[in-house]
């Protein structure tokens, strides 16, 4: 029984979309606009309940293009602004849009603290491994050795793996998708919205101008199926064009096997448990890198825990239940007072 009957069109604003032709951001925008009608039905959110908050960067122009409330903040501060929005009005569905520079360079602190607090916002991390808007400097996710405007002889820094950092900051929800996989992205958006707490979605996004094809060795159509694995809770960890490859346990680590070879059967293949609180396996999954492993897409971690905004609300209600002070006059007259006659 659809209540709102929104379509993607309802979430398109009248603003001209200004990303470069071919930029991965277009696909993500469209995936989100496709997902929001579903989110509305599943969670009973009217359109005006959505707020999109961003920092600064190409990706951070996103809120202008979504026909609801939006806040285009300052560089790196999206998580803090989004946190304020959510705590101020917990009924809002808050979506944070942020690039790899915005959320992991200048915004790294707000990022890890939002995740730690488990505030109920959905963070979309557009990871193009470059600063797009400022025209091509390396970011904290740029691969070691990359030549960029500010690293003419190659970078000398180990990049973050966003999923690993999220888990290190006690993250309860982490998913990964790629810009071109609009359907998968939409599906993940709905899952992120449903999760209570901070949902981090890393989007491997292509910047055609300054970092073209940085993800191509896993995203290119011809071998994508062989190099990514889409994880879904409760399903076997299989991948490959013929679904003939799988992940099995190997001591304390994971191993890729071909089903039917070397004695491995489908039964040996791990079943994905996104709900497991212990981060051990999730950590291995987020860290899988090509060529040793397929890169994991889908909802990798999805663990229930108390959220900051719920805790705040509960505490206020609890205190108010026993409150002796109920207005400012009470407050001013509370405690030690005396009369001058």
């Amino acid at each position: 029984m659809a209540k709102y009957n929104y379509t993607a069109q309802d979430f398109k604003s009248d603003q001209e979309v200004r990303w470069c032709p071919g930029c991965g951001d277009h696909a993500v925008l469209s995936a989100v606009q496709k997902a929001l009608p579903d989110v509305s039905e599943v969670l009973d959110y009217a359109r005006e309940r959505y707020v999109f908050v961003s920092g600064i960067g190409c990706s951070s122009r996103f809120p202008y293009y979504v026909n609801t409330y939006g806040f285009h903040g300052i560089h790196g501060r999206a998580a803090a602004i989004a946190t304020g929005v959510k705590v101020a009005n917990p009924k809002l569905s808050v979506w944070q849009i942020s690039g790899d520079g915005d959320s992991l360079a200048i915004g790294g602190n707000h990022f890890i603290h939002a995740v730690r607090r488990n505030i109920d916002i959905n963070m979309l991390l557009f990871n193009n491994e470059i600063y797009g808007l400022t025209k091509g400097q390396y970011s904290p996710t740029t691969k070691l050795g990359s030549v960029t405007k500010t690293s003419p002889f190659g970078t000398v820094e180990h990049p973050f793996r966003p999923g690993e950092l999220v888990i290190g900051a006690q993250g309860k929800f982490f998913a990964r998708t790629i810009d071109v996989e609009v359907k998968l992205t939409s599906e993940i958006m709905v899952e992120a919205a449903k999760h209570d707490g901070t949902s981090v979605v890393e989007i491997l996004q292509n910047c055609v101008i300054f970092n073209d094809r940085t993800h191509s060795n896993i995203t290119d159509k011809e071998f994508r199926d062989e190099r990514v694995i889409v994880l879904r809770h409760g399903q076997k960890m299989v991948f490959g064009k013929n679904s003939d490859k799988g992940l099995v346990l190997n001591g304390l680590g994971l191993k890729v096997v071909t089903i039917g070879q070397d004695g491995y059967t489908l039964d040996d293949v791990l079943t994905h448990d996104a709900y497991e609180p212990n981060p051990g396996v999730h950590m291995m999954l987020v860290n899988m890198e090509y060529p040793n492993y397929p890169v994991a897409l889908g909802v990798i971690r999805n663990v229930k825990d108390s959220t900051y905004d719920d805790n705040v609300r509960d505490q206020v209600l609890e205190v108010q239940r026993h409150a002796k002070i109920t207005c400012v006059d009470d407050l001013l007259n509370s405690g030690e007072t005396y009369d001058i006659k």
Partner: protein, 616 residues
């Protein structure tokens, strides 16, 4: 020493309690001042503590002080110099003797004036009195520690607790000296230690024994009586410090505006207590978010303001620096926000526990671009309530960030406060856009030039804001040159227009004449006292204490032009004076500046004013 004993009546007296950080001097002073307030005196207090939590015992670095000024009428400052100094150890004497009036009384715990104690405090001889040239002072050496032990030897308190009670013995002595009843303090023990009757009894006993000891010995020459004030308005009072009053002012504004209060903040001396006070008020629905840093503090508040809460953020100078960029965002998005800066000694980490007024220029200019906002200040501890309320009202009604400047002196200082009723305060009406409004233009303005505030969640008012330049009406991003010029102008005009809604500047004393003293912020009590005293002496001096710094009151030029000379007095190098030079270049502004991390003294102010008057 004079051995006669009598009860002398005084108009006012200043007492300074000083001892090790662990000696409980803050509590002792507070109890004395509370008792005096309850008794009906005018009271003003100021704590003076080190930036270490507990520096090594007995060292100068660890000395903590608390000064109380009581009078038979309203007193406006904690006093320049004290009549009585209580020194719990040699370090306290050494750190504070210069604050004792010539010939004043010093009560010292003789048990601590042993070789080790003297040496720790840096004395070179075993005769600190001679060493400090205090021969003309009345020094009362009392074995306070041993008498306290003696007093409590029959209780079952452990030794540590017993020794810790010595401050109450000293307090008892002071109560005798100033002819104070003990019952207020006894009542305090009863409430504080409700479930521990033995602790109540012990404290009462020490207090009483101290009182009796003082009455028995011959060393205390006189007892003094400072009669209750008669000129003080009747009514219900409480003591309040500036930080608490600030916090409560915000809560009051939130009630009057009928909007939930949100405070995103990060602890920093001497502003932390505002956050602490707000965190307590979950009963009134206040939401505090202790952020990961000052930037997150203000950004969460900006988010909350966007979402429709009344948002504030509290900090001190270094934190205001960190908030600069985000303040610009609040200016551009034209959201209501109060930023309170409890100023301390700078630059950089500077003197974190000392007072100063050196953030005024930062408040006015510390942001990129042409980025105007409202700057107002608070004058006294209790005035922080009204100042916070007004800052909030301006922010909410004019849709602008407001910086409220207080300082360490009034933030920590206390004074009695005639408790107001919220019915005396005006309503606050933010330009909230009602649901159902059609064709909402995000940057369309009302007569105050304030834009309409639409809350997320409201159907039909969906809109986007941000830090890029805004279209004059629609609020969409605009790179148009002429639009930018218009927006720079209108942001300035909106702030300037606030003056039309503010009270006119008042002058204390004659409305025209020879010398106009101009001040702002926490120097009020000192400037007022100096001007009052000089006027009583027949000098032609008036006071213009400015609360609204940007925009300045609309009649300020009228005020200035009625005086032959203007002297701007500040605890900095002349920041208000410079602001006035920019705004009203036509006047000549003399300056009196001090930047020692300390308040003015009345004496130095009067000297300066007399010199200006004389030098005409």
């Amino acid at each position: 020493m004079d051995k006669q004993k009598a009860v002398l009546e005084l108009d006012e007296v200043v007492i300074r309690f000083s001892g090790d950080s662990g000696d409980g001097m803050q509590l002792t002073g507070t109890l004395f001042s509370d008792a005096s307030a309850l008794f009906g005196n005018g009271v003003s207090t100021f704590p003076d503590y080190p930036s270490e939590i507990r520096a090594p015992q007995g060292t100068i670095g660890g000395v903590s002080g608390f000064q109380v000024h009581i009078g038979n009428k309203k007193v406006n400052t904690p006093g320049d110099y004290c009549d009585v100094l209580v020194a719990m150890n040699p370090a306290a004497l050494r750190a504070n003797f210069k604050w004792v009036k010539a010939g004043g009384t010093i009560v010292a715990d003789s048990d601590t004036f042993n070789e080790k104690g003297l040496q720790r405090a840096g004395f070179k001889t075993d005769d600190p009195i001679t060493e400090l040239k205090l021969e003309d002072y009345k020094v009362v050496y009392a074995p306070i520690t041993s008498l306290t032990k003696e007093s409590l030897k029959d209780t079952d308190l452990d030794n540590k607790s017993i020794v810790r009670s010595k401050n109450m013995f000293a307090l008892g002595m002071v109560y005798f000296m100033f002819d104070r009843p003990l019952n207020f303090t006894e009542h305090y023990f009863e409430v504080k230690f409700k479930s521990k009757p033995r602790v109540i009894d012990a404290n009462k006993k020490v207090l009483k024994d101290g009182y009796n000891y003082a009455s028995n010995i011959q060393a205390i020459a006189n007892t003094y009586k400072v009669p209750a004030a008669t000129s003080i308005p009747k009514g219900k009072y409480r003591n309040v410090n500036g930080n608490t009053a600030t916090a409560w002012g915000f809560i009051a504004a939130s009630e009057k505006a009928n909007l939930p209060l949100f405070c995103g903040s990060y602890p920093i001396t001497p502003a932390t207590e505002i956050l602490v006070e707000l965190a307590k008020r979950k009963d009134l629905g206040v939401k505090t978010l202790q952020a990961e840093d000052e930037i997150a503090g203000i950004c969460t508040s900006i988010g909350a303001a966007y979402a429709g809460n009344f948002a504030v953020t509290s900090t001190s100078g270094p934190g205001l620096s960190l908030k600069s960029e985000a303040i610009g965002l609040a200016v551009m998005t034209e959201l209501p926000l109060v930023i309170v800066d409890v100023q301390r000694g700078g630059p950089s980490t500077g003197l974190p526990t000392k007072t100063e007024q050196s953030d005024l220029m930062q408040a006015l200019w510390g942001r990129n671009g042409e980025c105007p906002l409202v700057v107002i200040s608070a004058n006294t501890p209790s005035n922080c309530f009204d100042a916070a309320f007004m800052a909030s009202k301006i922010a909410l009604e004019h849709m602008t960030p407001v910086i409220l400047l207080t300082d360490g002196f009034i933030a920590n200082g206390t004074e009695p406060w005639l408790i107001p009723s919220m019915s005396q305060y005006p309503a606050i009406k933010a330009p909230v856009v009602p649901e159902g409004t059609t064709n909402y233009m995000t940057y369309a303005r009302n007569e105050k030039l304030a834009r309409g505030w639409a809350f997320p969640g409201t159907k039909g008012l969906e809109h986007r804001v941000g830090g890029l330049e805004k279209d004059f009406l629609k609020g969409t991003v605009s790179h148009d040159p002429i639009n930018h010029e218009k927006m720079v102008d209108i942001r300035a005009a909106k702030v300037a227009k606030v003056a039309e809604y503010l009270p006119e500047q008042e002058v204390f004393g004659a409305q025209e004449g020879e010398l106009l003293v101009v001040g702002w912020g926490g120097t009020y009590g000192h400037l007022l006292t100096a001007v009052q005293e000089m006027r009583a002496e027949g000098k032609d001096v008036s006071l213009c204490h400015i609360s609204y710094i940007n925009p300045l009151p609309r009649n300020i030029v009228d005020v200035f032009k009625r005086f032959k000379k203007i002297v701007v007095c500040e605890l900095n190098l002349g920041q208000l004076a410079n602001h006035l030079r920019m705004e009203h270049q036509q006047f000549n502004y003399l300056q009196f500046n001090k930047y020692q991390g300390l308040p003015f003294t009345i004496i130095e102010l009067k000297d300066k004013f007399n010199q200006i008057l004389g030098g005409k």
